[in-house]
Amino acid sequence: MNEPIDREQMLDLVAAYALGVLPVSESGLVAALILSDSDARREYDELRATANLVGLSAEEPVDSARSARMKERLLAAVRSDVPRRAPLSATRTSAMWGVTLAAAAAVVFALVSVIQNFSLRSDLHEAQTRLATQQARIDADRRTVERDRRMLTDLTASDAKRYTVTYGTVVTRGAHVYLALGSLPPLPPGRVYQAWTLARGAKTMAPSVTFTPSQNGLTLVPIPDNAGSLAAVGLSVEPQGGSRQPTTKPAFLQTLS
């Protein structure tokens, strides 16, 4: 069962964020806290600077051959990056190499095409299937990361509007609305939290998403409606699956400007 978290526990989370050990799912709320609370900001700035220095303890001598090899490669890359006029002969040589390499590549491609057989195609098909599966997983991970980054960007943006409510903050930025809640009371069995929205000009609240707080009591809830269309958001405890109208006294009801 979740326990409300107090200020000291919140500052513990700030320290974890400064060290870089908070998962993305918990970072939004802590980032919002850091940006809206001067004590949290001070704690973050001091502990972040300290945490960064932990890495210095790993500094160690690099053997001279390795050190020289890395330096040589780096300086070669850097010097070639510094703008300068290439000698004409060098340009011509590069162009000649380009033509030769292109011709060689064409020959190799033709040879490979000729020697393909059924076995190779079968292997290829299997590899493509594996690749497609991997790609789908990577795409899904990428979408999750992009979504989390977008949320975090919204929550920490200087142009975001923040409304303090009983258990945290309502944040709006552009079309997006989030409930960043940090100390929700434990839910009775069979109950969930449900968000409510009041559209501009409407007289009754409409049901929105339901959720249960994360294990440590921190919860970031994106509201699917467009922020510009909403006059208010609210939160109440409802039966599992949600309700069509609030059945308990709202934990908060916040008007949006």
């Binding site: 526990q9 500052l11 513990d12 989370l13 700030v14 320290a15 974890a16 964020y17 060290l19 870089g20 050990v21 908070l22 998962p23 993305v24 970072s27 980032a31 900001r41 973050y44 700035d45 001091e46 502990l47 972040r48 600077a49 300290t50 945490a51 960064n52 220095l53 932990v54 890495g55 210095l56 303890s57 790993a58 500094e59 160690e60 001598p61 690099v62 390795r66 050190s67 090899r69 890395m70 330096k71 490669r73 780096l74 300086l75 890359a77 850097v78 010097r79 990056d81 510094v82 991997q134 990577i138 991970d141 999750t144 990361v145 989390d148 980054r149 975090l152 960007t153 920490t156 440590n216």
Partner: protein, 177 residues
Amino acid sequence: MDDGARLMERVRARDVDAFEQLYDGYHRLVFGIALRIANDAALAEDITQSIFLKLWTAPEAFREGNFAGWLSRVARNRALDAVRSRANQPKAEIPVDIPAEATTDATVFARIDAQRVRGALSLLSEEQRAPIEMGFFAGVTHEEIALRTGIPLGTIKTRIRTGLRRMREALTETVSR
């Protein structure tokens, strides 16, 4: 402004000599962090090279503050990404950072070196030092640290905070002597 920050200003102006000095001064730090995280000298070499090339191609990434601390964080994050890529794991666990505001730390901590950091870490109790080092070098979340050590999550978070505070006090004392 520390030596690294001054050199980065010259690197922004495409000064190759400054870049060479930057490498001479900081490659042991970057390689050391990469090696500690990757546990593979060849990969650590690749990571070190990619970080220094990035310093050259995108020097604006460093804005202000303690250069060694900033570079240490960059090396850590880059090495963790490389290790995760090698293991075919997603990179989703490291969240976006809020840039720390420039504080007096930039000046005070400019005098901090590896030996002083090791000294400060050695002053922590094992129970404070272990989660901090695990979090920094293994790139695991606080929940994973709790799981690996069998210590309650709340205790881990408190130990991280008290440990970092103690380390900060020790570092501040050592530079003010």
